[in-house]
């Protein structure tokens, strides 16, 4: 059985077809939630869950949705899932849900979700659609985690809230880089990742 072909939707979005750095989708939330690692991780899990489930549901309904109203149907499905995720977060991890504030609600507008529903779920069977959702969610998450690693390390000197840089660095005159906390630096770190990624994958260079 061609194992590779079955799991292509799962592994392809991790690097070669990464939603953030190759398809350039979901940049907005990549800027907004990456100042600290913990929210970035929670955001990754939320987006992966929503994306995988939405992909499966839309894929199951793909033959019954009239083409003219498909966007509305997709929105309804995604919105319902986002509300569920939001409620779960509020119930189990209120602090993080406060830190992510409006961005959980804005998963609805995350271009990755609409993009994958339109491009993949509408013309594939549920199982590949599910794998595609998981793959794209993780691909999105990898970038979020890398960006938030650098931003939290250099912006706050911490990782997952634990102090990494020793106190004597600060006594010797070291200061956290305030710009790392600001959104522009997320763009620049993302650009650096794209730079490194493209120099390893020559076929992606334009």
């Amino acid at each position: 059985m061609n194992f590779k072909k079955t799991f292509l939707p799962l592994f392809n979005p991790l690097s070669k077809d990464n939603p953030v750095i190759v398809q350039v989708l979901g940049i907005c939330s990549a800027l907004a939630v990456t100042a600290k690692m913990e929210p970035a991780l929670v955001m990754t899990i939320s987006v992966t869950a929503v994306l995988a489930l939405a992909n499966v549901i839309i894929s199951l309904m793909r033959n019954t949705i009239p083409s003219s109203i498909r966007i509305i149907v997709q929105l309804v499905v995604v919105a319902a899932l986002v509300v569920v995720v939001d409620q779960v977060l509020k119930a189990w991890n209120y602090e993080i849900s406060k830190a992510l504030s409006v961005f959980i609600g804005l998963i609805i507008t995350n271009c990755i979700i609409m993009g994958r529903l339109e491009a993949f779920a509408l013309n594939n069977r549920p199982w590949p659609a599910f794998l595609d959702g998981i793959g794209n969610g993780i691909g999105y998450g990898i970038i979020l985690v890398i960006v938030s690693f650098f931003r939290e390390l250099f912006g706050s000197g911490t990782l997952f809230g634990c102090q990494v840089f020793p106190q004597w660095w600060y006594d010797a005159g070291y200061q956290n880089n305030g710009m790392m906390i600001l959104p522009p630096m997320a763009l620049i770190v993302t650009a650096c990742i794209i730079w490194a990624h493209r120099s390893f994958n020559k076929d992606l260079q334009e």
Binding site: G178, M179, I188
Partner: protein, 397 residues
């Protein structure tokens, strides 16, 4: 000098194509042309108006910066000894105090910037460009004297890589490298770039009782009760001549209006800076300052300054003479230059007066207009095309 030349000529073949060190050709070429006039001439075409290459242009700008630079060093010493209570030192004590205070910063800026330039030039096989000669001296001059060297090194590396090299090196940057460095420092380490404690070097010695290290604009921005008189570091009010000569704390290159005017004269006489930009920026700044002064309000205390004082305080003049005129990042078309300069002057004063969070707006306004310069040029060129098209159609009818 002749011996040096003979020795260098002896090792030259190693660096030519096919030589064993040919990979380092651009490094050799960079040093060679830095030391001697290049003796290569163009072989075809007669397009050259003047032998003025970018190396000579850059050196002229450095010369124009020298008055500000030397005065700034002396002023650092003056502020230091005034703040610590013995202002009656002789000239050279003051000057060398400032000289040794800024020397590490100048060296840091040059070494970090040039090392990156050399590495990138080697990687791409380009010749080494001289663009950093000016940026390297400008960067320390627009930063507070107490900026730690490691911050400067990070900021210079960031600016050279992300504002210049990724866009293709010298001549391809759309933002002014020195100002990107300063903006990076300003947003990354605000506690070291603004406030009352960074613009006067105390060097560990305790200050006199009435000491305040705030810059004039800083004093105004943080004042609460309407018009205040601006004072020097020990609390005496500043006179107009003090402001003109620059005897107050600030980023050390930018305080002296007189030295900046000398620099401007050098740049204008040699034709390196464009008078349109400087003139229109002055007009823009003056108009905005006059408007704000006319409707001065206690909410925005900086608006009480008279327009001319407004222009000669802070980094405004320095930014428009040495940074707005940077030919790479400014507008190319002549009408565009007027618009570009005017908007720089206007936005600098608007930010300075109406955004009390930023006591000085020159840096932000030049960076902002750098971003708009290509758009302004585009509009000017298209207007011209449309006007001439209309002339043709009218004639043909």
């Amino acid at each position: 000098m002749k011996g040096l030349k003979r020795n260098i000529d002896k090792i030259k073949p190693h660096f030519e194509k096919g030589g064993k060190l040919s990979k380092l050709h651009s490094v050799f070429d960079g040093f060679y042309t830095f030391l001697f006039t290049p003796n290569e001439t163009s072989r075809s075409g007669v397009h050259i108006h003047d032998g003025n290459d970018s190396k000579r242009t850059m050196i002229t700008v450095v010369i124009a910066l020298l008055p500000c630079c030397l005065f700034g060093m002396w002023n650092i010493g003056l502020q230091h000894f005034m703040a610590t209570g013995n202002p009656d030192r002789e000239f050279f004590t003051l000057f060398f105090y400032g000289f040794f205070a800024v020397l590490p910063q100048i060296l840091t800026a040059y070494i970090v910037g040039l090392v990156i330039e050399f590495i990138v030039a080697q990687m791409r096989g380009h010749e080494i460009q001289e663009g950093f000669l000016v940026s390297g001296i400008l960067i320390p001059m627009i930063c507070p004297v107490d900026t730690p060297c490691w911050m400067l090194a990070i900021a210079v590396a960031f600016a050279v890589i992300f504002a210049k090299e990724v866009f293709g090196g010298t001549g391809h940057n759309f933002l002014n490298v020195a100002l990107v460095t300063r903006a990076f420092l300003f947003f990354s380490y605000p506690s070291k770039m603004s406030g009352d404690n960074v613009f006067v070097k105390l060097g560990g010695t305790p200050a006199v009782d009435s000491y305040s290290g705030a810059t004039p604009l800083g004093q105004l921005a943080s004042s609460t009760e309407g018009a205040v008189t601006i004072t020097d570091v020990i609390g005496n009010p500043l006179s107009c001549s003090d402001i003109f000569f620059g005897l107050y704390p600030g980023s050390w290159g930018e305080t002296s209006t007189l030295c900046i005017l000398i620099g401007a004269a050098i740049l204008l006489l040699t034709g390196i800076a464009n008078w349109r930009i400087i003139l229109s920026a002055l007009v823009g700044g003056f108009c905005m300052a006059a408007v704000a002064h006319n409707w001065a309000s206690p909410l925005y205390p900086v608006s009480y300054l008279a327009p001319l004082t407004q222009l000669s305080l802070g980094g405004f003049l320095f930014a428009i003479v040495f940074m707005a005129t940077d030919p790479v990042t400014a507008c190319r078309t002549n009408p565009g230059k007027y618009i570009y300069g005017f908007l720089i002057g206007m936005t600098a004063i608007i930010i300075r007066i109406y955004n009390t969070g930023y006591p000085e707006g020159a840096m932000l306004s030049v960076l902002l207009m750098n971003c708009f310069a290509p758009l302004i040029d585009y509009c000017v060129v298209n207007m011209n095309i449309r006007r001439r098209m209309r002339r043709i159609t009218v004639k043909n009818q």
